[in-house]
Structures are given as C-alpha cells and as structure tokens.
Symmetry: C2
C-alpha cells in the first residue's frame, strides 16, 4: 500500500479551481473534433496501416499519474497526435487487409454521438423506452432486408425477435447458454434424480474445425464439451459427418444439444451447409446457432442471399453490421426464434428493476444478453439504414467483392502463387506454391515492410495469407498497390 | 418466408444513386449534432425525466421497412425530436433520482467520438497498440487515485493489472468464471478421477442477500450454486455468518470457492465488511471479488477511502467510472491480482489472432473479458481524468453527497417519514411510516406524476423508496423541488 499525498489533501470544495469544459467550450471542441475526424479519415492512406512501435512505447509518453488539477483542452488535444496516433492500427486504411473489415461511417458516428448525449442505460423498457423500441424495429427492418423467416421477427407476434449484442462472441455464448439451460431442464424433467453436474458431463456441443475460436471459448465458459467436426474440401460442415458423429455420441450416452454453424468462416470465408445440417439438428433437438458475423451483411444482396438457405432451421442467428454494413463497432445483430428460451436462462427480477410494463408488449433486453446495462446502439443502425438506403449498402458490398475478384485474378496470373479456397465475398486466401516456412517468411516481410497489413491462417496444416478488402475507401488502385508490394517482397525473398 | 421484391432487384451498381453523407456534409452535420447535444443537455430540466408513453408507441411513428434509396440527413435529423425524444428516459435530468447515476461529460463524449473515428478493434496488442497501452496506463492511474494495493498495478511488474469491462455484471462474471476454472483445476489435480460435473456439483459461491441481481445471474451462467448470506442490520456481510456458513458447507462436502462482496449495494448503498471477510476468504482459498460499481468512485476522496479498507484481500475488484466519475457509459474498471488465473480461463490462440509480440510486455485483453472485440474506451477515461483533474472529480462527488444529506435532513424533519438506512454517499432510502402498500401507492403517484423519477427497493420485506442524486447538474433547489413534489403527493395520498 502507498499513499499519493497530493490527491489526499482535504480541501474544502470552494477552494478547488476546476477547468472542466463547459457547454460553450464544447461547442468549439466538438466542432474541432468533427474536423479532426474528417481529416483523419480523408487522409488515412498516408498513415502506415500497422504502426511501427514496440510493446511498452506509450507509457514513456505520458506521466505516471493523473493530474490533481484539470488541464486545458489544448494540452489534451495536442497529445492525440503525439501519444495515440503513433500506435494506432488503422483498420480503415485502404491498405489494411487483415482480419475482416470493421465498418465505419459518418451517419453511424452521428448515432453514437447522440447515444452518448442521451446516455440512457436501456436495461429495461422503462429505463429507455425509445432505446428498446427503436432496437425492436431496427432488428425487424434488418430481418426483412435479409429475408429472414417470419418467426425471427418481433412484429409477427410470435416468440421471435432481434437484439443488438456487442459482439458475435456474445451472441454465440447467449445461444449456447440458452440451449444448455433448456436441455438441462428437459433432461431433469425426465430424470429428476440426476444432478446438474451429472447432466453437464453428458452434454456435447458441435462446431466445425473452421469455426471461430470464440465458439470453442463459449464452450469453455458454458463448461460443456465442444466437439470440432471435420469439414469437406470446401471448408463446409456436411450432413454425413454430422449424422455419424451424433450416432456415435448418442451411443456413448452423450447428449448432443448445440451446434454452431458458420456462414463465412474467419480463416477462409467458407460456408457450412445449413440446408443439410439444419433438419438433422431439428430432428435431434439440437439448438442450431448460425454465426454469419462477416458474410451476413452480403446477404442483403439478392445474388448472395442463397448463402443463408436453410436459415429457417436455426434457433438463433447472428451477423455483425459493424463488420460490413457501415455501422461503426459495436453492433452485432442477433435473432432468436423463441425468446422465452433465452430469457429463461438469464431472468432475474429484483424490485429495483421492476416496472409496470414488464412482460407486456415490449422486451426487457437485459434478459437476452450477458451485461445488464446497454447503450442506445440502434440509433446508429437507424441512421445508417436511412442514410444509405438498402441500395447504398448493397453497392458497398458489391464494390468490395469486385475488388476481391480483382486481387484473385492477379494471384491466379502469377504461377508462383495459388488460391487456397474459392473466392465468394471479400476475402482472398492465397499462398506461395512453397513450404509453410516460405509463406511465413513472406508474411513477416509484408508486415515488417508496413505499407500494407495482412494476417495469416492455417487450415489442415497448410499456412496461408488472407487478403481481406476492408476499408470503404479501398479502390482498384489500392488492390493493385497491395499486389505490387507483395510481388516486390516475394521477389526479394526468392532472390 | 416472404420476399421484399423492392430490395431484390439486380441493379448494376452504376445505376444506383446514393445519397451517402460525404465528408463535406459531415463537417456540417457533426457541428449540428454537437450543438444539438449541448442544447439537449443544457435544457434537459425542461423535459420530464420519465416519458409518458406506452409500450409499442414507437413503431407507429416509423415505416415498417428500411428505405431502398438513401434519405437526406434533413429527413433523418428531424425525426430525432419526433420519434426518439418522446420516449427517452432522461438519466441526466436533475429530476431523475432512480437507480444510480450514469455519468456523462463533454470530455468523455469527445473521447467516444475519437474512438469511433479510429474504430480499431483492440482484441490483441497488435490490433491496436495504443488502444491496449492507454488502457493499461489509465487503469494504473485510476488504481493510484484509489490507493489500491500495488499488486493490482500492471506497472509493478507482478501479475496484476486493470482492464475496462463494459459493465459490472461482466466483471463479476469474469471473476466467477476465473475462480471456477481455477478451483476445478486444483480439485482435479488432487482427484483425477472426478469429472468436471462431479466437481461442479460440489462448488458453492457466496454473496450477500443485498448484492446486485447480476451476482446471482453470474452463478446461473457459471452453473454454480450461489448462496445468499444474511447481513447485519446495517446491510453488511460480517465474519460470523460467513465462518459459520463455510463450516456448514464444508461439512456437507461442498467446496466454497467464490465470494462476491459489495461496497455500496444497489438497494441501500450498504457496505460488506472487507476487513473481516477478506482474511477468511484468503484462509479458505475463496476468490474474493469486490463489486463497488457505484461507491468505488467516492473512494477517490480521502474522507471516503476507508470504505475500501480490506481491499488488499481481494483477488479482483471493480467499480464503474461510468456511474459517478464523469465517464460516459460504458466504462467499468476492473483489477485482477493474478492475470494468469483470468486468461487461463479464457485463452484461445488461433493463427489469425497470433502476433509477434504476444505474451510479452503488454496484455492481449481478449483473454481478460467475455467479448472478443473491444472499443477504444480508455480515450474517454484519459480525457476525463485530465480535463477534470482528480480534484475536479472529487468536487462532483462531494457535491452529490452534500445534496443527499440535504434530502435526508428534509425527510428526517417530517414525522410522517423515516430513513431506512444510514446515508453515506449519494443515496437516501426512505419510506412513509406506514404499510408497504401505502409506500407502493406513493411511489406510483410520484412516477405517474412525471415531474421526478424514483425507483423502489425492498429489504427484509420492507418496501421503500430510493432517492439517488444522479445528474451532474442537480442543485440544492432540485432537491428541494423533489421533496416538495413528494410532500404534495403524500398529502394527496393521505387525504
């Protein structure tokens, strides 16, 4: 224990000189920040997409302690470029091709600004009626754009509905926990002598070997075994392997209860076959959750909607408008077929959260999610859907897919390289026709060079590079630039 | 299934007219939004704190579908007052006295604006070095302001460190899951034949009967029994009941492994006795998590720091700067004593998230939290700590506590009323000296009246009203106003 005596003086409050920003100053600083945002985003291609700093760089740039007295905004503002920007990974740079995109747009930023101003914590309907109801409506709007089955819509007066989660990881976890609660209840009803632990030891969840790490992590949190099933040579989970595994597991006395399928895997953007595995899940009372975090956005275009064929078999479905639908992070859209099964897993009703209208026409979203509090995130979704219109959003998706095919063609033209998986959307998986080590060296050269940024992945022990079209501002010339950098560095590697 | 044919036309992208907002327009709209925010917050006392709408009001005000073509910002902007504001619960109104405060300030809003602009998803160090490192530094700054034990600081080169979670619920859950993983590992090491389920059936977690519902909910998610222990007549969990319960549970063959203590409960702002229960937890290898969501902020004032006496016994500690430290939601500060025990519960390392610097000098925060992605929330904390300075933040806390005592004095002066619990910080629990029903009627009258907003709670079957000082702008005259409304409505009730 130690004492920072400077903070601990007992001053009468009247003696304290505060330099808090007042509303008059905020009008000015807010405008300056708006201009800073525009200047940053308009000129982002001049910054290296991945910064050249080493761990620990930042603490050398700032004091070890917070100031006792307030500082002027001028002092603070100038540290944005001095302290923060040197260590920023610029996800919106047109030379950033790592992971998957994170969306960003001016209407979404306006939505978050308004959300911050209102700062209602919408855990119940009463704590923010507009916060709850706009979300209900926006999730119905999105469901219609995606042509989701009617049973996912709140307005259909059934048991379905949508919610904005923070991330796809949380959506997967909520689905798994709901399925777990449900299966434990069912098994207990038939076998009242079994303890929760005894039932838990029998539960088995499934996902494909190519699904995101957050699925396996949901299993860890839910404390259930997660079996990763092999995929076919296009990375798709198919009926044969699923049926065989279920039969084997049932023979062992295990209870299959949950399957997380992926539409657009992180490694290669592959697609599990929902039309095949959906009916099997339904037949065995296995909760089918569909994670379309990245690819879901593309399904607003009619030419890609087929990717969701079979979605009618799912108990829950999720995709991230914050990836590819111009909504700034965080906005992960999740629909559930039976909201009673979800809220049944989480519902707590202390007196201080009760209100007259609960359980009536509108949901209390706190029962559908892991956190209690929640921001007014539907504002940014509303602003984006209205400002772009569906056609404007489709246009962005199509542009990015075209750019991916442009990159694919460049790779295919070069006999030193190969394409790893069919290119369907905005991701191209490619590699040198050489050893894993050679590809690892190439990746390292690319990222050490700092002109573009990529991340790798590995499938069935084959290491490859991922080229994702990420920024809204990425143009054909940026794709050409990226390929020229890769060719130059490949050349230096081979020499 | 249905088809919205209007969205589904296959138009070549060149035919689509988009009205997306460009940077030139955003400079204007951003300034307008800044001015709207100021006008909203400066004039918020003219709005009813709790809106007078019924569930379902909003869907009547907007179309059933998203537009195909983009709309102009003028169209969208005018709907903020028409659609959203009628249904907003104004948490920042000086007449809002429900729940606990949600902080809001201009420097914090600027921080969120910048975070949105950068929109890096900082799940690993590499995906946003500044995002990770500013958070490490800000959590150390905060730890020093609160005089936390050194073992919670990252800069001390031990195993400790801080992280910004979204909510206190998530912090409690992360603590419980870490404790669960740890105890299962330990028990399995000694009893390799026990299954996870068999161990789980023996685990028992504790909390007090006055702790927040999210603690019990963490038990549901973690699938462990949660025993709620009785408190003394000041609402405090004490040594005798804890020792007795542990002994009884151990005799039953149960394994106590986790205790969530509260500093500032939601119902009455009572305080568990950390100095008493901490050593008992340590002795029995029980993970002590301390939830100070509301009261933690007050501990930046030396006169309230005693509330955290005994915190050195905790394995993890959490409070919400987004409640009472001028940081706009969400910003929940959590410290852990041994980060290996936390990341050990969650760590997954797929190739696409690996980077050269992992496991080195700086954390990959994805291993410390439930979601994968994360916003750049430390920016708003940095701006607030620097703009207000510690003394400016202390001043706000002291003002609110003074206002609570002002309200307390008014209640005590009226023989029809009684104070339910000692007033320590910004919450006053009070009731009519009458039946629960009479108090319920009074609450209903107050909230139906719409001039002020309160929520109730219930302890040991006694229903009471909670008066929380919430808004930064609340002044002595607002407290007087609230009391006059309560007196007027009491009078009409008694007549």
């Amino acid at each position: 224990m130690y004492m920072f005596s400077s903070y601990m003086k007992l001053l009468p409050s009247s003696c304290i000189l505060s330099t808090n920003m007042d509303s008059k100053e905020f009008r000015i600083r807010g405008q300056e920040m708006v201009n800073y945002i525009v200047d940053y985003l308009e000129n982002i291609r001049e910054r290296m997409p991945m910064p050249n700093v080493v761990p620990g760089f930042l603490k050398e740039l700032i004091p070890d302690e917070a100031p006792l007295e307030g500082e002027s905004w001028q002092e603070i503002q100038k540290d944005i470029e001095r302290v923060i920007m040197p260590g920023v990974t610029h996800w919106n740079s047109p030379h950033f091709h790592a992971y998957f995109p994170t969306a960003n747009s001016y209407p979404a930023i306006l939505g978050d600004m308004l959300s911050d101003a209102i700062s209602c914590i919408g855990f119940t309907w009463a704590s923010g009626p507009s916060c709850t109801e706009l979300e209900v409506s926006m999730m119905d709007w999105l469901a219609k754009i995606l042509q989701l089955p009617k049973h996912f819509l709140f307005s259909e007066q059934g048991k379905g509905g949508g919610i904005i989660q923070g991330t796809a990881s949380e959506a997967t976890l909520v689905a798994l926990l709901s399925a777990r609660t449900n299966v434990i209840k069912t098994v207990k009803a038939d076998n009242p002598d079994l303890t929760t632990g005894q039932i838990l030891d029998k539960l088995i969840a499934y996902t494909s070997e190519e699904s995101h790490s957050s699925v396996e992590r949901a299993g860890l949190i839910g404390l259930v075994q997660m079996r990763t099933l092999p995929t076919d040579d296009r990375g798709s989970l198919r009926i044969d392997i699923l049926e065989e595994t279920i039969a084997q597991d049932q023979q062992k006395g295990l209870i299959p209860f949950f399957l997380c399928a992926t539409i657009g895997t992180t490694s290669t953007c592959s697609f599990d076959n929902l039309s095949e595995i959906g009916p099997i899940c339904n037949h065995h009372d296995i909760w089918l959750h569909v994670d379309a975090a990245y690819a879901g956005s593309a399904c607003i275009c009619p030419e890609f909607r087929y990717l969701l064929d079979g979605i009618e078999h799912a108990m829950s479905f999720n995709f991230n408008p914050h990836k590819w639908l111009q909504v700034t992070f965080d906005c992960s859209a999740m629909w559930i077929k039976d909201r009673d099964l979800v809220s049944g897993a989480f519902e707590m009703n202390p007196v201080y959260l009760k209100h007259e209208n609960q359980g009536h026409a509108m949901p209390d979203y706190r029962h559908w999610q892991i956190p209690l509090g929640r921001r007014f995130r539907s504002l940014k979704l509303w602003f984006v859907l209205r400002s772009y219109g569906v056609s404007g959003l489709q246009k962005q998706i199509r542009k990015d897919v075209q750019l991916a095919h442009q990159f694919e063609a460049l790779v295919r033209d070069d006999p030193k390289f190969e394409i790893v998986r069919e290119v369907t959307l905005g991701l191209v998986c490619f590699r040198l026709k050489a050893s894993n080590e050679a590809n690892e060296m190439l990746l390292k050269k690319i990222n050490d060079d700092h002109r573009i940024h990529l991340v790798p992945s590995k499938i069935k022990d084959k290491f490859f590079l991922r080229f994702a079209v990420c920024a809204t501002s990425t143009q054909p010339s940026d794709v050409g630039f990226a390929w020229s950098v890769i060719q130059e560095l490949t050349h230096s590697l081979i020499q």
